[in-house]
């Protein structure tokens, strides 16, 4: 693999996809990858910060709400504000919302049950570093596994989000069409993933790290992580996306 970026995976008590992300970044993509304990206050020079899935602190209040106050989150915030890459997957996405690094909030899934299934996603942007391996409109298959992935915000906020092109992935059917049957958790406007205005912070509910190897029958998620570790980006990224 090409020299990419140094990756840090934040481990919160209750994270449980930390090792899965590590496996893809460290072993499949062969990047320098380390775990960052939630009590750290420095990111140790990591350029890509991943907030992994799981049930941080048990998620006993709202998913991600307690982790959002972890000591390391101040450093993650500074990193994000400086244009650094932050990728939140599932519980990590929930943390980014709770920490205010991405707009919106999560409610419990529409039918109030945990959902562990494969879904189809439509790629809404291909100008983000994360999506550089995808084409706009492309349909991906990825697993979801969550109880609180029902994305919501006010209508005005959602309009703003759409206008500024911050919706990155939507739940669709296998043909790429919006359909309520394909939006299993009930998210507003079928939103599955959003980015910050500058495009450097991305959060999504599906798990790209669980579908990054052919051996597991699905490699659709690999390009997302491969994009995330691409060298360069940084400043150019901000310029290219324009915010």
């Amino acid at each position: 693999m090409d020299p990419g970026v140094k990756c840090g995976i934040v481990v919160f008590p209750g994270s449980n996809c930390d090792h899965d992300v590590y496996h893809v970044l460290g072993h499949v993509l062969e990047q320098e990858t380390l775990f960052l304990w939630h009590q750290k206050t420095s990111l140790e020079g990591c350029e890509l910060i991943v907030l992994p899935g799981g049930f941080s602190y048990g998620d006993y209040l709202r998913a991600g709400s307690m982790a959002a106050h972890s000591p390391i989150m101040a450093a993650v915030r500074r990193h994000a504000e400086a244009g650094g890459r932050v990728l939140g997957i599932c519980n990590g996405f929930q943390m980014l919302l709770e920490a205010g690094l991405l707009p919106g909030a999560m409610r419990r899934n529409r039918d109030l049950r945990f959902l562990s299934v494969d879904v189809h996603l439509r790629v809404e942007r291909d100008d983000l570093v994360y999506c550089s391996g995808y084409r706009r409109g492309e349909v991906l298959r990825m697993p979801i596994a969550h109880a609180e992935g029902n994305y919501v915000d006010t209508d005005e906020a959602l309009d703003d989000l759409e206008r500024s092109g911050q919706v990155v992935f939507r739940y669709v059917d296998s043909e790429g069409n919006l359909a309520s049957g394909a939006n299993l958790n009930g998210s507003k406007r079928s939103i599955a993933g959003v980015c910050s205005a500058e495009g450097n912070v991305l959060g999504l509910m599906p798990h790209p790290e669980r579908c990054a190897e052919d051996l597991l029958g699905n490699g659709d998620g690999l390009a997302l992580l491969a994009g995330a570790v691409q060298a360069g980006g940084g400043a150019e990224l901000t310029a290219a996306v324009g915010g």
């Binding site: 008590p13 209750g14 449980n16 049930f55 945990f114 562990s116 109880a147 798990h207 597991l216 490699g219």
Partner: protein
């Protein structure tokens, strides 16, 4: 010790109180003799827990001895928290199955959740990292008004299992779910967990080295679950309501950090022994750990972290509060463990030490409240050879009831697919995270789940099986069949069985007819284990599953683990998850039927679910023919000949073909040499395989060489199932079958 061990407010101990604790007159007498005095209240509580069926296996021990427990792969057989087998490349797998039937009936959500928690702790106390769970569930009638409570139980159990396993981050990759009115008053919730670790990292629960400290870690001790072990050893009656406060509440977050912290502590090199507090809490963990080390223990109960200060020694020793562990470390090194645990936000505290006098001595506020010999209480618990005799109505049960041939085989097929029993179980398993840890190649919905083993070329396969109707009609045959089906399910993915665990769910062994069922089932299972050379490495017995005299169907749940040595021999990477599943996915593949098809309808789904008849002799199980079929399947898999495989089970050939078609929505066209009734026969030792036309001859000629009947019955393709048989044809769009099948369970659970 004198009676000074009694505390103010404690009831006086006598034979009557002992009997309320479930001890027989003889057991109580034996206890008094052992101590040489009247036991204290705390001691009585401890003895009643250790003598309970749940902890002592007093009614089943004598039968369990029949199981083969050794093989060249077995590292630890029964007796540890979980059995351990070698799975190659320097790795071992630790696994076990446990019941949580009674708690789940009382409080389905917490009962099932804490069942998962308990089995996970059994695995990680061995030093193994849990990587997969299975759950085997039996419910009663869920239809109509009368089924309302049962639907509530289904909902609660499934949520409980899901919420716990999902939070800890262990995928639930398979299981089984059955429905039968015999479970109306007593559902079954059996949870299985498997963990892996490097061979040299395995730990055992041993207390050794006089003077070494005993540390308590995890949640504080509360009043919950007091007497759970005793409760699991009693039949239900109207008083069970009153036992409700004994339900434990699970905290999966604490479990997750306890898991990580414990594994880290075990890697630190200072830990000598680890034991979780499961049934009978601190009592069983201290006594069993001491017994294994031939040691004694001294515990200061004032040091046990409590949720409420008012807990008595009796309550402290019997509490079943969840997410608690005991560590024994080298003397002077306890600080290492304390600091690892505290990094994970957990408290650890020294509560006592190991001694060398073989006694358990407990003190509380300056008084000795228990002083008992360890070994005789743990290993010397009574063993009963309960009277056993076949049920009076056995002959009537087994009377052959010839089924009627279906006028409308397609209608009968739809009828079966539309029952919760044979319907799609996705409504259940989509509530379980089945892909976390990113090892799942084949998840729930197939014959066997398949997990890659990172860092090795191999994979593990898992399955859980039993047919309670077969076991009720002929327990010996039913026991055999359960093992045979498990071996066959593993063979469908090319896996060699390496070990088995089980959960024996029966009614009261004090009823001679149930004792007979238990004995016969175990014999049948043991015979089959020998025939297939599969060791039993762990297990659990759950007796007294009955309510007001009505026992559950005998349900000896089998969970089996297999190894695929070289995963890549089976096919190319991107196709493995499809070709190891049991669905048609490649048009043009040939469909072959392996195994001899005879008419077998005793206890069949056809009779039971369509006609309400549960009678006859269950399908015969020819262990030699099964072994030949399984060897053939494994060979064909390893040779990369197969693109899919599905064994024939409930509902027979036509149901199996429908399942293959519904998996990916791809149909088949072919013909079967038999009448309409034979489509539904449950003759054992059969499987459907698919292969590209170029491979058909290889499969057929190997089958011939192996003495396994084989015929080409059709071709994969199109969007219909079209199967000709003697006198007619079954013809249906796959979508129509799928609609019936997928709706069955969601509709039933409302």
């Amino acid at each position: 010790m004198t009676a000074s061990g009694s505390l103010a407010g404690e009831p006086a101990v006598d034979a009557g109180l002992a009997s309320e604790h479930g001890l027989t007159t003889e057991e109580y007498g034996g206890l008094r003799d052992l101590l040489g005095r009247v036991p204290t209240y705390t001691e009585l509580g401890i003895a009643s827990a250790l003598y309970s069926e749940h902890c002592s296996y007093k009614s089943s021990k004598i039968h369990l001895r029949r199981f083969p427990t050794r093989s060249r792969r077995v590292v630890h057989g029964p007796g540890e928290n979980a059995g351990v087998v070698d799975i190659g490349h320097g790795w071992v797998a630790a696994f076990k199955m446990e019941s949580h039937n009674h708690p789940s009936f009382i409080e389905p959500y917490q009962g099932a959740a804490t069942g998962v928690g308990g089995i996970l702790r059994d695995v990680f106390t061995m030093g193994a990292r849990p990587i997969a769970c299975l759950d085997s569930l039996r419910f009663g009638d869920i239809d109509g008004e009368r089924g309302a409570r049962m639907r509530h139980l289904v909902d609660g159990v499934v949520r409980g299992i899901g919420d716990y396993g999902n939070c800890v981050g262990i995928p639930t990759v398979g299981g089984e779910t059955g429905f039968h009115s015999s479970y109306n008053g007593n559902i079954l919730v059996n949870a299985f967990a498997l963990g892996v670790c490097r061979r040299e990292r395995i730990f055992t629960a041993v207390a050794s080295g006089a003077g070494n400290p005993i540390l308590y870690a995890g949640s504080r001790t509360g009043r919950d679950g007091i007497h759970g072990a005793t409760m699991a050893s009693e039949a239900f009656d109207s008083e069970s309501e009153a036992k409700r406060p004994t339900v434990q509440v699970g905290d999966p977050f604490t479990e997750k950090v306890l898991l990580e912290a414990s594994l880290e502590a075990m890697r630190s090199g200072v830990v000598l022994g680890v034991q979780d507090m499961g049934a009978a809490g601190l009592t069983s963990s201290c006594f069993e750990m001491a017994a294994r080390g031939g040691a004694g223990v001294e515990i200061d109960l004032d040091l046990v972290p409590l949720r409420e200060a008012s807990l008595t020694p009796y309550e402290i020793m019997l509490s079943e509060s969840q997410e608690r562990m005991v560590f024994v470390t080298q003397r002077g090194q306890e600080g290492t463990v304390v600091s690892i645990l505290s990094r994970w936000g957990l408290q650890a505290r020294t509560i006592g030490r190991v001694t060398d006098d073989g006694r358990a001595r407990l003190t509380f506020r300056g008084r000795t409240v228990a002083d008992m010999p360890v070994e005789p209480l743990v290993d010397g618990a009574p063993v009963y050879d309960r009277p056993a005799r076949p049920p009076a109505d056995l002959a009537r049960r087994q009377e052959d009831v010839r089924p009627e041939a279906p006028d409308d085989p397609l209608g009968a097929l739809k009828g079966l697919l539309g029952t919760p029993e044979l319907g799609d179980k996705e409504w259940i398993f989509r509530q379980y995270d089945s892909t976390v840890r990113s090892n799942t190649i084949v998840g729930p919905g197939s014959d066997a789940a398949v997990l890659r083993l990172k860092g090795t070329p191999s994979a593990l396969a898992l399955t859980s099986d039993v047919n309670p109707s077969y076991c009720w009609l002929d327990p010996r045959l039913g026991g055999r069949q359960a093992v045979a089906e498990a071996v066959r399910n593993l063979a469908t993915v090319g896996a060699e069985p390496v070990g088995m665990t089980n959960c024996l769910n029966f009614g009261s062994p004090e009823n001679p007819e149930i004792a007979w069922q238990l004995r016969e089932c175990i014999s049948g299972m043991a015979d089959a284990c020998r025939a297939f050379d599969v060791p039993v490495i762990s297990g659990n017995v759950s007796l007294y599953n009955e309510t007001e005299g009505e026992a559950v169907r005998p349900t000896p749940t089998v969970a089996m683990v297999g190894v695929i040595d070289e995963l890549m021999e089976l096919g190319v990477e991107g196709e493995l998850n499809r070709l190891l599943g049991c669905g048609f996915w490649r048009a043009g593949d040939r469909v072959l039927l392996l195994g001899r098809s005879g008419d077998e309808f005793g206890g069949s789904a056809y009779q039971r679910l369509l006609y309400g008849v549960e009678a006859g002799r269950p399908p015969s199980v020819d262990l030699g023919a099964e072994a030949a079929l399984c060897a053939l399947l494994r060979r064909a898999r390893r040779s990369g000949w197969l693109s899919g495989c599905h064994d024939l089970a409930e509902g027979g050939l036509i149901v199996a073909l429908a399942e293959c078609a519904m998996a990916w929505g791809l149909g088949m066209r072919g013909s079967f040499d038999g009448g309409p009734l034979s489509l539904f026969s449950e003759g054992q030792g059969r499987a459907i395989v698919t292969a590209s036309p170029a491979r058909v001859d290889d499969v057929l000629s190997s089958a011939e060489a192996a003495g396994v009947a084989a015929s080409d019955i059709g071709e994969v393709g199109g969007d219909r199932i079209l199967l000709g048989f003697d006198g007619g044809v079954v013809d249906s769009p796959v979508d129509e079958l799928r609609a019936v099948w997928t709706e069955a369970l969601p509709r039933a659970v409302g």
